[in-house]
Symmetry: C2
Subunit: 479 residues, 2 copies
């Protein structure tokens, strides 16, 4: 007989028929007449209840049916008399495929802290919380591809190992096959990277943008979705050394079209999760509500998770220029009462506290801030006619902060080369990037979206380490 998944069984896939269930025991309870075994197979957050009559199954058979054990159950799927589930299985046979010793299996019935579960990231996938998180992550990843596919964007796999640094700075991981204990050296004592695998020094990519721009000049609209790396020693709830980024690049787009696309994209992905992971989101919503009970009244969420997501999907993002944002901040009571830790004036970069004020206090919704001072933004962003600002945009989300960074790209060769030199990049090293301006260049734009930040937003998880299966952070590369 073919196995049927819990998700299908709970939708009444084969009522009053014999079915084969395979999965892992979540709980077992009962009395001397009957045992109730809750089985989960990861297809849904819900368990399927297996009813095992004591007269059919000896204690001997049931003793290994413990939390965490893998079992196969044959029986009739019937409408459930009990509360909490529509269907259950009246078991005729139960086979234990893999035991889970109750003395040593770490995931017992009680709730575990997220910190503890991070230590056993390989097992946390089996909990309700992380099951929900990673089913949602899966849905969102699919939505990313679906969105761009429907729009005719070409998915580009830009290189992971690279000899260039797209941001013109940033701390990078070196990639090498040299013997680090005894590397080859040139006559003057420098490392001889000519003997390295690629014949030069290489790093892990910090962005696929430049290769993406190249591809946009061929396909009009492209996107990347791949891993990206930062070797920053940031032990925060918002940073990973290895994370997944989505970077669309579009020929013939200006900043407004860029912002429109980003807003449409974010709403699409959230809506898709709401439609396809309703139960997972509801579970996480309850989790947050429980968390909130331990917080003082003024720190509790104003909206439930679902309400927050629906609010984002159904409302326009706010759009302000950087200059307007500075005005808002300087006119705020918060500012007047000197509650900002960092300086606020035209020309400074917005700090997290400023972004949060704008998003969470002032607008109470996602905000697209555009036209930042050129000196605090990257060289490749298009210089505005004022000569002071660039056609940049950041999208800030409540509770998360910056979720998107993008810009119209500088397509004018002379200005681009000048700005490269100003930040110390040798234009010759970027010959292929500059070819996009040299040959058939055009106005174009793009953005980068940190996938984990978006998953955080949708799942409500406070720590970015809890939305990627095996997080990579300073001092941590286990699993």
């Amino acid at each position: 007989m073919q196995r049927t998944k819990v998700k299908d069984l709970l939708q009444g896939a084969a009522v009053d028929q014999e079915v084969l269930l395979k999965g892992w025991v979540r709980t077992k309870r009962g009395n001397k007449f009957v045992n109730f075994i809750a089985v989960n197979d990861g297809s849904t957050i819900n368990n399927l209840q297996v009813v095992a009559d004591a007269e059919k199954f000896s204690e001997e058979t049931l003793k290994d049916v413990t939390t965490g054990a893998a079992i196969a159950v044959t029986g009739i799927l019937v409408a459930s008399q009990g509360k909490g589930q529509a269907f259950e299985i009246q078991a005729s046979s139960i086979e234990v495929l893999g035991k889970a010793d109750p003395e040593t299996y770490p995931l017992q019935k009680k709730a575990h802290s997220l910190e503890f579960l991070r230590e056993i990231a390989h097992l946390r996938l089996r909990t309700n919380t992380f099951g929900a998180v990673f089913r949602i992550r899966n849905t969102m990843a699919f939505a990313v591809h679906k969105f761009f596919n429907e729009k005719g964007f070409v998915y580009m796999h830009t290189p992971i190992i690279t000899a260039s640094d797209a941001e013109g700075a940033g701390e990078m991981f070196q990639v090498t096959t040299l013997d680090i204990a005894n590397p080859p050296r040139t006559e003057n004592g420098h490392i001889n990277f000519e003997e390295d695998f690629f014949g030069r020094a290489t790093n892990l990519t910090v962005s696929g943008q430049m290769e993406g721009e190249v591809a946009a000049m061929a396909f009009s609209d492209i996107y990347t979705f791949g891993p990206t790396f930062r070797a920053e020693n940031s032990n925060t709830t918002r940073h990973l050394a290895e994370f997944w980024m989505i970077e669309p690049e579009m020929a013939f787009y200006d900043l407004k079209m860029n912002a429109d696309l980003a807003e449409e994209f974010i709403k699409y992905v959230i809506r898709y999760a709401l439609e396809n992971n309703r139960e997972d989101i509801e579970f996480l919503e309850q989790r947050l509500a429980e968390e909130d009970k331990n917080k003082p009244q003024n720190e509790r969420q104003e909206m439930t998770l679902t309400e927050k997501l629906e609010f984002v999907v159904n409302n326009d993002f706010e759009r302000v220029t950087y200059t307007e944002a500075i005005d808002i901040l300087m006119n705020s009571n918060h500012y007047k009462k000197k509650k900002f830790q960092y300086e606020v004036k035209w020309g400074v970069d917005l700090q997290s506290e400023h972004e949060r004020y704008l998003v969470e206090k002032h607008f109470k919704k996602p905000v697209i801030v555009t036209d930042y001072p050129k000196d605090i933004k990257s060289f490749y962003m298009r210089l505005n006619d004022d000569g002071k600002t660039v056609a940049a945009m950041d999208i800030l989300a409540p509770g998360i902060g910056e979720i998107v960074g993008g810009s119209q790209r500088e397509e004018r060769m002379d200005i681009l080369v000048e700005r490269m030199k100003a930040v110390g990049i040798n234009p010759d090293d970027m010959w292929w990037f500059l070819d996009t301006r040299r040959f058939g260049g055009c106005p174009h734009a793009g953005f980068g979206l940190g996938f984990e930040r978006m998953v955080q937003f949708v799942t409500g998880m406070g720590n970015i380490r809890d939305v990627i299966p095996f997080p990579r952070t300073p001092q941590n590369a286990e699993f």
Copy 2:
């Protein structure tokens, strides 16, 4: 006015209406009365013809409309009188957005060699051949996600930076933030990796399988699709240092179910490309037919590209055990005439020449070879009852060779630990992997498919460097 893409215009999106076209000039020809400009925007392999009457456009205007230039054209979309296209644009205005100096732009009308185009990988995306290849790659990548999504598999992002080596061997790239010129050392002179970013030595992943197995024990069915790395000094047409791999892992699957899934998957992806990239495939088919003209009769393809793909989609893959395969080889005339370079006997690994004989001469279709001798396969493959073979499978495709490697996994703790030790792996280092057997283990299986090999198969491209945008190979990390 909003721009319309060539693909939509060629499907008659706005006949007899004014439209805005943006794209790159492929060719310009004409006479003193009229100019014909072929414009491509990457949305399709086909160009849209722009008709520019000499009386409306001065030579001055048209002089920068050269091959490679980016232009914007306004005009009426009309049914075409000429051959080769259904629609064309009667231009009322033409704006050159970015010039492409005919003296220096490398992509002129004449055909370029693939070798030359590899040197300008950033520009080759603008050619018909590579346009077709990467549109097909995009379609196939989407099909990968669509297939698994429809089956309820969870997409897992397994780590790229890892401290473990899933294959138990294999040459790997080191990842480090240490100063290679002057690394910290322990008292005994070894590199002190405790001071490295992750507090230990780390590498780029060679496979996400082990993390995938962990996840399958939570979600039943999962897949990965991400970059994978080999630091092998292989300068061949079949190897990349950085490539994308798809690795599904399924709880409660045996080897046959594994093979069934792999076959269904490959057919699905190919069929999806046939349905969605018909014109691109036809273009590449013509390209191959041209190539064949330069080959001796006996080296030419028996089937066209489309025929080959449809043949694969519409026929069952052949299935043989390794033992049967060895028998076939040893009973072949090829063997009797001593035409195999490498030894054939039970126990040796199949060489490329053997695989090609089986696939291209004997069966003339994809072949699934199962149950290899345990000594030539990985420690994690399930030992068969004969004690000599393991439940492994390789899928071999005509012209490509191995496209899939997979197995039922060894779920029995004692046997697994024994095999680990036999190949020199310390079980303690793999504690989390072994936990999948320790707690709720179950029969399970999975496979890995090299995405580029599959793209090669569908596009007919002979060199794997021509199916990934920016290939990474020994001595080559440009772009």
